[in-house]
């Protein structure tokens, strides 16, 4: 019996090792990930989200400062859950998603703050506007899944999101709260 158990454990370990080779980059688990935001229209919080995005991560928890994260967001996948608003958001005044379909983020530095918390600095590019942003996030691991959760405040007018007649911040506030939950497989144990 003891031998059988040992064999099983050995087999299970081998399978795990085969599934997650030590040097492969982590993979984004899209179905378990969320990228959302809350904007304010005349004081009314309105939630939205992006349905399609992708992330590339190379990250060693032992050496976080050498890590890198890149992010692409398909702007046309934005939704406020209302067809009229979604059609409006594709227009040039908002995301202009036909002209420049993707927004991107590329990290320049990752700083460990301790306790599973990190600060990721990098360049955010939307509609041809590039700005430096610092994104605080925390990492949590459950099984083989590592989840990064965090958020930051984006000033929509810095990226010309809601231009022209929509630039009035008493109608739509300049501050947009961005929040995300990104699940990865293949991150080494914290």
């Amino acid at each position: 019996m003891k031998t059988l158990t040992t064999t099983l454990i050995a087999l299970a370990s081998a399978t795990l090792l085969m599934q997650a080779p030590a040097h492969a980059d982590p993979q984004l688990l899209a179905a378990q990930s969320e990228l959302g935001f809350t904007s304010k229209q005349m004081g009314v919080p309105v939630d939205g989200r992006f349905k399609r995005f992708d992330a590339r991560l190379s990250f060693d928890p032992k050496k976080p400062e050498t890590g890198k994260v890149g992010f692409n967001i398909e702007l046309a996948s934005v939704s406020l859950g209302d067809p009229a608003f979604d059609a409006e958001l594709a227009k040039p005044a908002w995301f202009d998603s036909k002209k420049l379909p993707q927004a991107s983020f590329q990290s320049s530095a990752i700083k460990a703050l301790g306790g599973g918390r990190f600060e990721v600095a990098g360049k955010l590019s939307i509609k041809g506007q590039v700005r430096d942003v610092v994104v605080p996030l925390s990492l949590a691991q459950a099984g083989a899944t590592t989840t990064a959760s965090g958020g930051f405040v984006l000033k929509r007018l810095e990226f010309k999101i809601g231009d022209g007649e929509w630039a009035d911040t008493s109608m739509v506030a300049n501050d947009v709260q961005v929040k995300f939950k990104l699940a990865f497989s293949g991150v080494a144990p914290l």
Binding site: Q41, M42, G43, V44, P45, V46, D47, L80, G81, D82, A84, F85, A87, E88, E165, W166, D168, M171
Partner: protein
């Protein structure tokens, strides 16, 4: 406390009556105009103003109802019994609509995922969940109730004008401020 109710309505009743008349006509006009506008800052503004007006109507109507229950209305002027009954029925339905129209609009807002923040400052709670199908139904109910309210207002105004200009019994003056 006088045993005989005054012929006139009291000051607060008169104030609430005309304030609400103005607010209801305004909110109805806005609602009619804004619902077909394409998405624009103007549409967004009107929707929010409409909601703020609606919530103000709801609050003032609650105050008005309490005041009406506390303070009896002056006795009916002499008129055929069926007319008195019709007038009272319209009043009763008007009061129902003062609550049903704003409440259905509030619920519609919540279900559509655009909660009401009164005057852009006070967030009102959602008493229905965000649900697109429910929002569609509530929108229809809100519109139907608003039209019912409009018809009742027309009947109410027609009755008042009939008293004033055909019966010449001075009924309209009871709802106007002036000497007692």
């Amino acid at each position: 406390m006088p045993s005989q109710p005054s012929v006139h309505h009291n000051g607060l009743t008169i104030l609430l009556h005309w304030l609400l008349a103005l607010a209801i006509v305004g909110a109805f006009g806005m609602g009619l105009y804004m619902s077909d506008l394409p998405l624009s800052p103007t549409r967004l503004k009107l929707f929010n103003w409409h909601k703020w007006a609606g919530m103000t109507i709801l609050a003032l109507s609650a105050l008005r109802l309490l005041w009406r229950l506390a303070k009896r209305a002056p006795a009916d002027l002499p008129m055929p019994a069926w007319q008195a009954r019709a007038a009272h029925a319209v009043h009763f339905l008007l009061y129902l609509c003062f609550f049903a129209v704003p409440l259905s609009g509030w619920a519609y807002s919540s279900a559509a995922g655009f909660p009401i923040v009164w005057f852009g400052v006070l967030p009102l709670p959602d008493f229905v969940p965000v649900d697109k199908l429910l929002a569609e139904t509530l929108k229809e109910r809100h519109e139907q109730l608003a039209w019912l309210l409009a018809l009742l207002v027309l009947a109410h105004v027609a009755g008042a004008l009939k008293h004033q200009f055909i019966d010449r019994d001075g009924l309209l003056l009871r709802m106007l401020p002036g000497r007692r």
